[in-house]
Symmetry: none
Subunit: 222 residues, 2 copies
DNA sequence: GCACTGTTTTAAGCAAATTTTAAGAAACTT
DNA sequence: AAGTTTCTTAAAATTTGCTTAAAACAGTGC
């Protein structure tokens, strides 16, 4: 899942980047409003975190512009202001939620999950056949036996399962899981598919990730 | 579907070639404006991706020349510039759309599909009789049973179905699906028609691809 | 600051599937 | 029946993906 963070204070920006990366999100940071809108309009993010007070276009403006361009990406405001009118103003501009600074990272995470859930019509649990992922606790179970996955393995599996029964092309995988947008001549996907198959294969019945030659991979529901 | 990419940076050019090939397009790359125009004027592309800043003729010039030669092929600009006047300039030169670098591959793909759709009046799903193709997921169903096709098989079937009820000559097939423009003394089409018939025949009622002797093949809607 | 641990990426040889070539059999045309 | 054209099959050539090992990197504790 790709998240755009629009935040000028480097401390907070880094804090968010690191924390969200730990949670297996692919994070881009924009340090002002113009950059933020540019990135938002040229990329396909799954969620946007938007600081209210930023140089260039204000957060509200960025939010309006994004909505004007017909994007429904969930937007969460980070705001130091706390008067009711301001938050209402933000929500009316098209934001989905807001959180006041200083905030607890856990709370932010919870709100992010809520937005992603409503977007995808899912809970915190993803499943495919006998495999279950708990996004909240970062645990993966295969036949109710826990399997330890690394960050990248987890992120790749999440992407595959969110798109289950659809072919995921190499290009899309490298963009959504690795956040790489050019020069895709790497075999890192092959290697991670291999990791996942090894870790999940002997536990669940059959190799549930099939290869679609010349295109990518597909995780099938049976 | 044939796409011409006019782009000088090898990294981006390769990225585009690979990504578009994954999506079953036949891709040619020109590394400068003159080559680009030469290819565009001597070939029948379904779409042109044109970088703005390229050696030789500028992207704008190539676009103008193409339009001057009375071609209506859809043209999408790739541009690093982002002032409104520039893009308007590009669109006035006869381009159909533009996308700013750096871009998300999926967004580019969406824009390409929009151009091809308006051109062909179709969505992401193609169908013929009991056969359905999902271009987004690269899946083919025959009587709602999935059939596994390779890249070339998929591309050939797509071409036949996009031109259903029209005779597709061998020359056009070899040009649009294989991107070969000389020396058509190959029997590769015969072989692939055979593959398709075998894979789809026993599932759907009758052989839906008929041979038109001396000319080519036709996929009929019944 | 350095060694240790685990993760991620790169690279290379091998295996497997796809794509192309080729050639004889079959079908159609004249 | 002769001459084309297409079909079918098999094998060669090529491409793509799998697997493994090692290198690069990051984080932790001493």
């Amino acid at each position: 899942m790709r998240i755009l963070v629009v935040e000028d204070e480097p401390g907070i920006a880094n804090f968010l980047r690191d924390g969200l990366t730990e949670e297996s999100f692919a994070v881009d940071v924009a340090e002002n409003g113009n950059k933020g809108f540019e990135l938002a309009s040229t990329n396909d993010y799954d969620l946007v975190l938007l600081d209210w007070m930023i140089p260039g276009l204000s957060g509200i403006e960025v939010c309006r512009q994004i909505r004007k361009s017909n994007s429904l990406v969930p937007i969460i405001f980070l705001t130091a202001k706390d008067t009711v009118s301001d938050t209402v103003f933000g929500l009316e501009a098209g934001a989905n939620d807001y959180i006041r600074k200083p905030f607890q990272f856990e709370e932010l995470l919870a709100r992010i999950r809520v937005q992603l859930r409503t977007k995808e019509g899912e809970q915190n649990i993803l499943s495919l056949g006998s495999i279950t992922m708990n996004l909240g606790t970062h645990q993966v179970f295969s036949n109710s036996k826990e399997v330890e996955l690394t960050q990248k393995e987890f992120a790749l599996l999440e992407y595959l399962i969110r798109n289950k029964n659809k072919v995921c092309t190499r290009t899309r995988i490298i963009e959504h899981v690795w956040d790489i947008h050019f020069d895709a001549d790497t075999s890192v996907i092959d290697v991670y598919i291999n990791f996942l198959r090894k870790k999940l294969h002997d536990v669940s019945a059959k190799s549930f990730i099939s290869t679609v030659r010349g295109v990518g991979y597909i995780a099938r529901d049976l």
